[in-house]
């Protein structure tokens, strides 16, 4: 029960002592962070460095919009889109069987083991996975796909498992008590209840993954990321700008597609 923030005779709320201490502590931590980084913030905002920044930014415009370069950017965009889509799809396919033990259906031991596996998969960032996958699968988009798949499987596996755990047990119990086997009971009771949420999570991760897929190219996983890294290393800002624009368009497009799919496939009830 939250206490009201204003008293009825109009006095402003008096903050609690703990909140004040907490706020001051937070401020102290933030200041300490800036100080520790010992970045000469003064230098950073000096006139000289502002001017240099300004010049640096100006070199990004106008972006290179020549036909041949646009064609290459488009090709890289398709590759990034493919990496994110296939990666998310694979992740969902792997996450579904992992979600079953993770929700505790097969006992505490398998729940702990599967949750540990899922935690490790999702704690390691996609970029690190990508570096490892480049070693295994060589440079190119497949390393990115596998890295995304492995990391996202950890995320989705945990989310899917939590969804299953939070389902009301009455539907499945009624079927089991009517003699249905475990597979059939799961399919007719839990699956229809969980499926819309699962789909929503997967589509949301697809939106996140399109951003990550672009980035994985930095370590050699192809697509727009590799192009960006390449052109920035050569200080070819105009080309880099085109790639950044393509990333922006791709992200907006995938966000819209994901939203549309979510609306169509998981329509609101009632």
């Amino acid at each position: 029960m939250t206490t009201p923030q204003t008293t009825f005779d109009g006095r402003a709320w008096s903050p609690c002592l703990a909140c004040l201490a907490g706020a001051l502590g937070l401020l102290a931590v933030v200041v300490a962070s800036f100080v520790y980084l010992s970045v000469s913030w003064g230098d950073l905002v000096s006139m000289e460095s502002m001017r240099l920044m300004g010049r640096f930014i100006a070199e990004f415009f106008p972006p290179d919009l020549s036909a041949s370069f646009l064609a290459r950017t488009a090709e890289a965009s398709l590759q990034t889109l493919a990496v994110s889509s296939i990666g998310t799809l694979l992740a969902a396919l792997v996450a579904m069987p992992l979600a079953l033990p993770a929700s505790g259906r097969f006992g505490r031991l398998s729940r702990a083991a599967s949750r540990l596996l899922l935690n490790v998969l999702r704690s390691v960032p996609e970029l690190v996975w990508a570096t490892l996958m480049v070693l295994a699968a060589g440079l190119g988009p497949m390393a990115g796909t596998l890295a995304l798949a492995v990391h996202t499987a950890g995320v989705l596996g945990r989310l899917f498992g939590e969804t299953l755990e939070n389902l009301p047990p009455t539907a499945e119990r009624a079927l089991r008590e009517a003699g249905a086997g475990p597979v059939a009971a799961f399919g007719y009771a839990n699956l229809p209840l969980a499926a819309p949420q699962w789909l929503g999570y997967a589509l949301y991760r697809w939106e996140m993954n399109i951003r990550m897929a672009a980035v994985l190219g930095f370590v050699g996983a192809g697509g727009l990321g590799q192009m960006l890294y390449f052109h920035l290393s050569l200080f070819q800002q105009a080309q880099a700008m085109t790639v950044l624009l393509a990333m922006f368009v791709l992200v907006v497009g995938v966000d819209a597609a994901s939203g549309w799919l979510r609306q169509r496939l998981t329509p609101a009830r009632g």
Partner: protein, 274 residues
């Protein structure tokens, strides 16, 4: 012998005693109604009869087997022969009516057939036949969350009709239906049980419906069976005694329509027993 309970008692985990010294038996094909006030133990009794709850005391025999001494596979087969109509249908909202009804035979179908039926319904004609008995034939492909409470309750009944069990247990099957529809639904349920030779045990809150449709009435109070008599032998005093917690007035569902009688307007028991 459809079922035989001997001295069954059950105490819930929270310490509440739901059943005490319940002994009840029925032959195959019999119809009984269980009546009593809320909390009398009717639902618990039905769950014991459905091999869902194991009584702490006494013996249970269902369809000539002792369910709690069976191995898992025979127990599963036994359960497939017992159909329970729940008071709140345990049907996922987004399921279509056809799939919800077909779920009645999951106890008999192998897993592959069950999963295949999710993709394309395996026996639409059968599901339609079950729904048509309850007046819902035209809602075959609708989603369950588009149905009203009463329609959803009838889908739950259709599921059990499709299951064609040897023992039908109905827990307040017409609680969400208006009087006319309740009457018609009970008629369909009774007709189905007669057709298949199934034993029907229904717990009903409305005494007039129980007296009308069931030749044998079992009265329960505080977890005990207070009387077990043919419908004609039940007196108003017995019924008042059952419902002392509800002011001594037995509930009725409303106007009881009987083919030979004029509609009765009075809500008292005497009028309903005409």
């Amino acid at each position: 012998m459809a079922f035989a309970l001997a001295g069954c008692g059950l105490v819930h985990a929270n310490g509440h005693r739901a059943l005490e010294q319940v002994s009840l038996a029925a032959a195959q094909g019999e119809r009984l109604a269980v009546i009593g006030a809320s909390g009398a133990g009717k639902t618990t009794l039905l769950r014991v009869l459905g091999a869902s709850l194991r009584p702490g005391e006494g013996e249970v025999e269902l369809l000539a087997s002792a369910p709690w001494r069976l191995a898992p596979a025979p127990l599963k087969r036994l359960r497939a022969r017992i159909g329970t109509i729940h008071q709140q249908p345990p049907i996922p909202p987004r399921l279509r009516v056809v799939t919800a009804v077909l779920a009645g035979r999951l106890g008999r179908w192998p897993p592959w057939r069950a999963l295949a039926s999710l993709v394309y319904p395996a026996d639409m004609a059968g599901a339609h036949a079950a729904l048509a008995q309850l007046g819902l034939g035209d809602r075959l492909f609708d989603r369950c969350d588009r149905l009203s409470g009463g329609q959803l309750q009838r889908v739950g009944i259709a599921r059990v009709l499709y299951q064609q069990p040897a023992l039908m247990l109905a827990d307040e099957p017409v609680s969400s239906l208006d009087p006319t529809l309740a009457d018609q639904t009970l008629a369909a349920l009774v007709a189905a049980s007669e057709r298949d030779g199934a034993t029907l045990v229904a717990s009903l809150h409305a005494v007039d419906l129980a007296l009308k449709w069931f030749p044998r009435i079992v009265g329960m109070r505080s977890g005990r069976v207070v009387f077990d008599l043919p419908a004609g032998s039940v007196t108003p005093e017995m019924l008042s005694a059952l419902y002392t917690s509800e002011g001594g007035v037995p509930p009725v569902h409303g106007i009881a329509l009987h083919a030979d009688d004029a509609p009765v307007a009075s809500a008292t028991l005497q009028a309903a027993r005409l």
